[in-house]
Amino acid sequence: MMRTYRLLRTFFQACLAEEFEYRANFAANIAMTLFSLGMSVLTVLLFFYRSESLGGWSFYEVLALLGIFNALHGFIELFLQPNMSRLVSHIRQGTLDFVLLKPVDSQFFVSFRHLVLWRAADIALGLGLTGFAVWRLDGPPSWSELLLFLLLLGAALAIIYSLWTGMMVMSFWAVKVDNLSFLFHSLFETSRYPVSVYKGALRLVLLYVLPIGLVTTVPAEAIVGRLDLANALGAIVLAALFLLGARWLWKQALRAYTSASS
């Protein structure tokens, strides 16, 4: 555990040094993040311009959910996206050999070695927006709400991480997975608004089969105090199952790995 922490810290420092080589870029990226968050808030304002509620959610409740969406998106861009493209080239060029030879858990290494640190701004701004919305709703949340929120946010992160690992693993068999990550990003867009917006079977699919709708809705339900207990339990059980599944898939994939020709 201590070792994992120390490794993460080393990855972090290496990436921080890299980031500060390009300071102007860093500032421009932050400006971009602010702009896109502003645009998504404007979109929600537009929805509420002619209506009182969206799928049974009030304006500030939707804003709280949007903040969570932004934070999770930041998480994907910070941790998952940069490592994914590298894993693909590791596999294609056979350099995964070097990773496997290191005395580290290979799944951990390929998942977290490269971080795009300025994306932390997405996470901070997203959680800031959630905090603001919750405070406007009914002041500071209670400790139990906050605790439950953090727990469910953790479950959401685990689910997203597992889905990405599942996708990464595909590259052991079919080398072109950049398309899959594009598809994931598109599907992830569906979690921008409460899952109650969707009707019938589609809602069930987004909640439990392809639990992308679940990842933002459930933590948001917890923090605005309208939690559906079934959804909360479902999220935690799914998160555990998905993590186990991801681990199993990674092991299967390593067994299938034959290195490049060299």
């Binding site: 421009a28 594009f182 598109s186």
Partner: protein, 271 residues
């Protein structure tokens, strides 16, 4: 061989080559096409949920279905993507090789657009017809003449968006953040072109601004034409076309200026 004949022969060859390349990557192309469907479908779900069993600013749930199906098809057929390739080519210097060819680089891009959009159209239009059999909300109630006008409007919009995107790509001659600037533009376009919502959902002054600037005419105008919303207002139809043609002329003019100024600035990186 006369000049014009040679020109079209080159296009014919380019078309065949690019078509063959695309067919090799057909599954990628399909994923790319389907991925772009999600955003309009999410907007559709939101508006259907907002309107419930009533209507908002003249749109009922089934109006939204028709509107966003239109947006999905029109946006897919008119969206440009050349900015990414141009940016990379100019930054990494591979643009030099393209400049040396005996055919202006823009024709390669135009041809690429034609190939992919033809492919999208071949897949999407029959799919629409098929779905319309099952979903009455997706049926069109316009005559053949209007459909002809829709095709012209989509072609003009495609040309507008192509020229806009190409100019953003040429910004790479001056800056290495051309794609970021294009992303800013796209975010505004998403809003004002009607991809998030029909313009009548917006406050009036926003809708008015979107109608004057080259936003409404790129997506919402062909969609309104297609869904029959402009059937009773022929002057709105002519206004839309006048705007498309006017903006297109202006854009082509500025493209020429940007191209000339940019080439003077261009010094290939790494030969």
């Amino acid at each position: 061989m006369s000049g014009a004949a040679a020109f079209w022969r080159k296009y014919g060859v380019l078309f065949k080559t690019d078509w063959a390349i695309m067919m090799i990557y057909r599954s990628e192309t399909l994923i790319w096409m389907v991925g772009a469907f999600i955003q309009p479908l999410v907007s559709l779900a939101v508006w259907v949920s907002l309107s419930g069993s009533g209507s908002i600013a003249g749109y009922t749930a089934s109006d939204y279905v028709l509107y966003f199906t239109g947006v999905l098809v029109v946006d897919r057929l008119t969206r440009a993507w050349d900015v990414y390739e141009l940016d990379r080519d100019i930054r990494e210097g591979t643009f030099s090789a393209k400049l040396l060819r005996p055919f202006h680089p823009i024709h390669w891009s135009i041809n690429g657009n034609i190939v992919y959009k033809a492919f999208f159209a071949i897949l999407m239009l029959p799919a629409w017809l098929l779905l319309a059999v099952f979903f009455p909300a997706m049926r069109l109630s316009v005559d053949a003449g209007t459909l002809g006008l829709v095709i012209i409007a989509v072609l003009l919009s495609s040309a507008m968006r192509f020229v806009i995107g190409y100019q953003f790509g040429l910004l790479a001659f001056w800056s290495n953040r051309a794609t970021a600037m294009y992303a800013l533009y796209e975010a505004i376009h998403m809003f004002l072109s009607g991809r998030i919502a029909p313009l009548s959902m917006f406050p009036d002054w926003v809708a008015a601004a979107a109608r004057v600037l080259p936003f409404y005419s790129t997506v919402a105008f062909p969609v309104d034409l297609l869904s029959g919303r402009l059937a009773d207002t022929p002057e709105a139809v002519w206004q839309g076309f006048a705007q498309q043609i006017g903006w297109l002329l202006l854009l082509v003019l500025s493209l020429r200026l940007v191209w000339r100024a940019g080439l003077k600035r261009y010094g290939a990186a790494g030969g």
